[in-house]
């Protein structure tokens, strides 16, 4: 019996870790990769405004997040980078109707100083440029394709990255000459300059958020969604280059 002592202690510790998890209850938020910086900056203001809650994030491509929710991942709120992906969340998993809380626009990311002199969308078709796009499976890739189609530009990318931040990273490292990314990602990156895409060819991304039933903190999830649309949430989003919802 004495030998079982450590096992009993370990099980008890595990059980207590599961039940309390510290003084604050943690709201689990699944969010599109492009929201990473802004949402991280929101963690403290959100916690300060809600004494009961802290926030834990899971950042990934929007489609990946929805797939995780569908497979039963425990999440209290979901923020995606497009409406179509949000629409694929089963109604039974959502605690309300998704609401747009921010918008984003596409830019061309180039190396600092724009050494390859990329001036316009049409330049992306230049054979001397290594262009990376996001994969069509992720919203940023879908928007980039729409934008390039509108501009009538045919691009042969060297890679279709699995998330939009990888696009900016490859440009920042100098491995690719140009990429199409969100203004927010390109602005946040240190070694990257941006070339604007005119409104006529641009695709404005709309970010919806919704509370979920799949986690343990349903009320906290809804409070996080409400915080996104509150003045303090909006101020933070603006600081990271997001446009306000229409």
């Amino acid at each position: 019996m004495a030998r079982l002592g450590p096992v009993v202690v370990a099980v008890a510790l595990l059980a207590s870790a599961c039940s309390t998890g510290g003084t604050r209850r943690q709201v689990t938020v699944f969010a599109a990769a492009s929201l990473g910086d802004a949402f991280k900056a929101m963690a403290k203001p959100f916690a300060d405004a809600h004494d009961n809650y802290g926030v834990t994030y899971n950042f990934a491509g929007s489609q990946q997040l929805v797939a995780q929710v569908q497979q039963g991942a425990e999440a209290d709120a979901l923020a995606t980078a497009d409406q179509a992906t949000m629409a694929s969340v089963p109604a039974k998993d959502r605690s309300g109707a998704p609401a747009v809380f921010a918008r984003n626009r596409l830019v061309i990311a180039v190396a600092r100083g724009n050494p390859k002199r990329v001036q316009a969308v049409g330049d992306l078709a230049r054979p001397d440029l290594k262009v990376v796009l996001a994969a069509p499976a992720v919203p940023a890739g879908k928007y980039a394709n729409q934008s390039l189609t509108k501009a009538g530009v045919k691009v042969s990318p060297v890679s279709l990255e699995d998330n939009v931040e990888a696009v900016v990273t490859k440009v920042g490292l100098g491995e690719a000459d140009a990429g199409v990314a969100y203004a927010t990602d390109a602005t946040a990156a240190r070694n990257v300059d941006t070339v604007q895409i005119p409104d006529a060819y641009n695709v404005i991304a709309e970010y919806p958020a919704v509370g979920l039933n799949t986690g343990s903190q349903r009320a906290g999830g809804q409070q996080f969604v409400d915080f996104l649309r509150s003045p303090s949430g909006q101020a933070i989003l603006r600081r990271f280059g997001f446009l306000p919802p229409k």
């Binding site: 489609q63 990946q64 499976a137 060297v158 890679s159 699995d162 491995e175």
Partner: protein
């Protein structure tokens, strides 16, 4: 007479077995069996399978070509810093593959340490099939080194001495005595390297990027299709599962019976 094992051990062993079986069953249960033929003939699926075969077989061949001599040196030559060299050779085994990918990017990328020099020679690796092969080679190499090194250690040195006494030169001894004796180790190393190369994900997507037909190998296709067409992702997973089972079949004499080393 075998004694009845304690109940606690049986229960834990059963749990371990369950953990291994359940994911495979889950995959098989969701497989779109009726559309299998139709989806296998899709161009993207065929591209990913073809590319994975090309890159993984090339990586396994290169891993043997480079790993076997290193294994021989580690087994037969005494030199200072041997422990460090062996640790280095095993590093990709414990390093997260995505870190390997980042390291490869800084070393062999267009602006990398060696890559900038390669660029002058007109060789670029990131975003090319060659880059995917290098990423797979990086993670597969340790398997060649450890497997062949064990094989070389187990060699009977007297055979080589006898060959030398009979007047055989070093090359002749290598070809007619050492390599045939090492054949089982080399075959096992090839199968292990191939399996590891085939499953490579992190280093490939980080270093070589993701473009169908050029760098989008099976695991990358599984990951991206899961976001768009889960049925295709499951199908590609089944292909990888079948290939993995084939590797275990190749290794059956070595691994599936415990007595042979």
């Amino acid at each position: 007479m075998t004694r009845r094992p304690p109940l606690a051990i049986l229960v834990l062993a059963g749990l371990a077995l369950l953990l291994l079986i359940v994911p495979v069953v889950g995959l098989l249960e969701r497989a779109p069996w009726s559309q299998l033929g139709h989806e296998l003939s899709e161009p993207e699926v065929r591209k990913a399978i073809g590319l994975s075969l090309v890159t993984s077989l090339s990586a396994a061949a290169l891993a043997l070509l480079l790993g076997a001599p290193l294994a021989w040196v580690l087994a037969r030559v005494d030199f200072r810093g041997k422990t460090a060299v062996r640790a280095l050779a095993l590093l990709p085994l414990v390093l997260p593959p995505v870190v390997g990918g980042v390291a490869l990017l800084f070393a062999l990328g267009r602006n990398g340490l060696v890559g900038s020099w390669l660029a002058h020679l007109g060789i670029t690796l990131p975003f090319t099939t060659g880059g995917a092969i290098v990423a797979e080679l990086f993670v597969a190499l340790p398997f060649a080194v450890i497997t062949v090194e064990a094989g070389v250690r187990a060699l009977d040195g007297r055979l080589e001495e006898a060959a030398a006494t009979l007047g055989a030169g070093q090359w002749l001894t290598l070809r007619r005595v050492v390599l045939p004796a090492l054949a089982p180790s080399l075959a096992a190393a090839a199968a292990l390297c191939w399996a590891r190369a085939l499953g490579e994900f992190g280093a490939t997507i980080t270093f070589a990027g993701n473009l169908p037909g050029r760098t989008q190998t099976l695991p990358l296709a599984v990951y991206l299709e899961l976001q768009q067409r889960p049925g295709v992702a499951i199908l590609l997973s089944l292909v990888l599962l079948a290939l993995s089972i084939a590797v275990l079949f190749l290794l059956r004499g070595r691994w599936l019976s415990p007595r042979r080393a």
